[in-house]
């Protein structure tokens, strides 16, 4: 990530934090308009100190990108320039593909107030433009860095979180255990006069079972629900 003439140390810190959030560490600063190192950067980096300490400062954009082979210019407004424009999501796939071939990739971000100069945009192979609200499209600098870093991270295969229940030792109840629970519940509902219209009973039973089937109850939760029925209706058979 290459920040061109950044104005606020605070934004540099926040960009460093966003980068480390996404597992990135190579931050480059071109001719920063704040002093550097700027103490304002450290609080907003919130622990991403390694990124700030390793940040390199270059006098010009040309020098900052000289070792890179695929360069993107991040812009909020349309540029009158014949150059392919890609979204951060499209760019991420392309960048991953390039990086896997050993290509060094970089993204240029302009100063907070003005964005990149056209001369800087020209250096890039692609314009990177996030398809945001056209009436309010200017992102904060660190937010723009985050979107690109985030898409980079999401484009990796290992970043897919499985749809898992986060307590591995809490096993889901078996169908047999669920059946016991349904029977307990329905027996007590019968006693409580819940099934007023006998013809509707199958539908009602199905709807009630559906509620619990959907939640993928754990064994512990099924025990708790048995306890609830007993607390509400008294122990099994008490009323019979």
């Amino acid at each position: 990530m290459i920040l061109v003439r950044p104005q606020l140390g605070e934004n540099i810190g926040a960009a460093a934090r966003a980068m480390l959030n996404c597992g990135l560490g190579d931050l480059r600063l071109v001719d920063p308009r704040c002093r550097w190192p700027d103490p304002e950067a450290w609080p907003s980096a919130s622990g991403a100190v390694s990124v700030l300490e390793r940040a390199r400062v270059f006098p010009s954009t040309a020098e900052a990108v000289s070792d890179l082979s695929l360069i993107y210019a991040s812009t909020a407004r349309q540029r009158d320039m014949t150059k392919p424009t890609v979204t951060p999501r499209e760019a991420a796939v392309e960048m991953r593909r390039a990086a896997a071939r050993g290509v060094r990739v970089g993204v240029l971000f302009g100063p907070e107030r003005t964005g990149l100069d056209n001369d800087e945009v020209v250096r890039a192979a692609r314009i990177l433009h996030a398809p945001l609200n056209p009436d309010f499209s200017s992102l904060n600098l660190a937010q723009a860095v985050l979107l690109v870093a985030y898409e980079w991270r999401m484009a990796s295969e290992c970043s897919i979180t499985p749809h898992r229940l986060p307590r591995p030792l809490e096993l889901p109840a078996t169908a047999g255990e669920m059946e016991n629970f349904y029977e307990h519940l329905e027996e007590e509902l019968e006693r409580g006069g819940f099934f007023e219209v006998p013809e509707k009973r199958p539908t009602v039973v199905r709807n009630v079972r559906n509620v619990f089937a959907r939640s993928q109850l754990t064994r512990q939760e099924v025990r708790t629900l048995h306890g609830i029925i007993t607390a509400l209706a008294g122990p099994r058979g008490r009323r019979s």
Copy 2:
């Protein structure tokens, strides 16, 4: 977007900017720890004044979400709670689908330092967790808001297959309706002597609520469950 006990006006402003960047405007604040309106919010909103001016303040999370039916709890760390975890990308598709059916959707974000309490996470149907660097996963508050708002924007309505339009009773219950149901249940459990060990009551209540929060009950199902409690325990107040 619902910011729970936000500490810094600056972050509220940056969150408002990120929301408007993505075309969102309904910002809710629960018991802000900074004064509100906080002049610190305006510079970081950078023009997203409409969002700040329309932001509503609520004394509690329960009140802030009472009209919503699909609630996500944004967390950076794993919670010891049995509840589906989704990424912002997965959530965005689900949210778009729900919104297309007229379901009101909200995302809870916790205080900067501590994140959401477990009691607040329990209110949500889903845990929202971005698959970032596991060694440095805590996002700045406004950055977290941006990722969710950005994914919402990227999951444009036209990419979602419409489902059959549901009948009104098939719509998910609001958080207010769920709260009524929990209160009815807990009142009867109290009478039935379910809470044997008073110190354990909060944990037990949380686990029981979690079972139902996870299943995204419809209004009809909530009615049925009220009926079940009444059938099991007798009409409200009968035993008192």
